[in-house]
Symmetry: none
Amino acid sequence: MVHDSPMSARPATVPGSQPPALEPGAESVGPRLRRLREAAGISLSELARRANVGKATLSGLENGTRNPTLDTLWSVTAALGVPITALLAGGQTGVVRGTAVEATLLQVFDDEAVTYELYRMVVPPGAVQSSPAHHAGVTEHITVFSGVLRAGPADDPRTAHPGEHLSWQSDVPHVYEAVGDQPVHASLLIRYPRR
Amino acid sequence: MVHDSPMSARPATVPGSQPPALEPGAESVGPRLRRLREAAGISLSELARRANVGKATLSGLENGTRNPTLDTLWSVTAALGVPITALLAGGQTGVVRGTAVEATLLQVFDDEAVTYELYRMVVPPGAVQSSPAHHAGVTEHITVFSGVLRAGPADDPRTAHPGEHLSWQSDVPHVYEAVGDQPVHASLLIRYPRR
DNA sequence: AGCGACCGTTCCGTTTGCGGAACGGCAACG
DNA sequence: CGTTGCCGTTCCGCAAACGGAACGGTCGCT
């Protein structure tokens, strides 16, 4: 079930989400494609030829007047020799904001009986983030990049310095807090055993 | 930051690249979407409702009988709260293959004085991967997803079960090995303090 | 100048992805 | 039982993305 995101706030997938025209990240696809093509030093016509797509398609894609098909994206990025994520990454990662932390969803792993969500987390100094209990069996794993983090179960938090690791069962309320006046950068891995 | 990707080489952009039907990675989008949706614990109809797409679209998408529009992909992944790359990634990231392990570079973090490389690692059973010493100060952090891993300094490896964590100083030769006959899936975080 | 090659855009008929409305299947109720 | 509710699939008219063929513009060359 909707494994609650770490900060309990869902990424605002507003129920009545009505994309008015184009998605936020979509409009950047055109410019990005154009830059990639020009970096490869080939013309629009040439790329269209190599990718086996129409020049009209490519033109419209670069100018943002078309809503390309996945096939088209595969063809174009393959012909450019870049991963398809080069056009799509970064724009719309799931960002979760709590009162004190900001976490960006980087990857989701689905293994046989477990789902892992990997976040990149920043905890600014001067505030404490409390997070309610998750479902039973959920564990969190943090590796600190920089700063000093105090985190864990609300009644028994622990401290980690850069390069160190923390993990705990998150079926109880837990907290995150930056120690000192430096923000904490860390990776957060949440493990959800599939019920 | 411009962390040069480890494999900056162009993937050969075959001149006569003629994609016959569907691209190699495209066929995996359907199953991946289905698993993400089921991991979120919601029905097809429910996801269609939240994403403002037709059930027909979603059904066809999961079964691989449609060639979705970028708009559709944005809507669906946004409603799931995952980055769009969760459906598309994996095709062309930097893959590092050793004699026994295969690691996919997911992210590079450059913080003030440290660089982190985050890998997704698979260790097949029946072989031992030896890795030479890195520079001083380099540490490795592993979280096991599935399988049982035995890894660490060559003279003192330790064992980790699913959900458990290992870390060690990797300035000495170290090893990775799957215990039992199941492959090990894990995340590997390597920390390089900037000299 | 004229000519040819190529550029990127626009027009247009065909193809196809799109959402809405059915459909059958299944489980939970009265 | 019949009814209700939701599931996932299939049918279908419509909007739109598609490739091919024009188009005007800008270079080199004769």
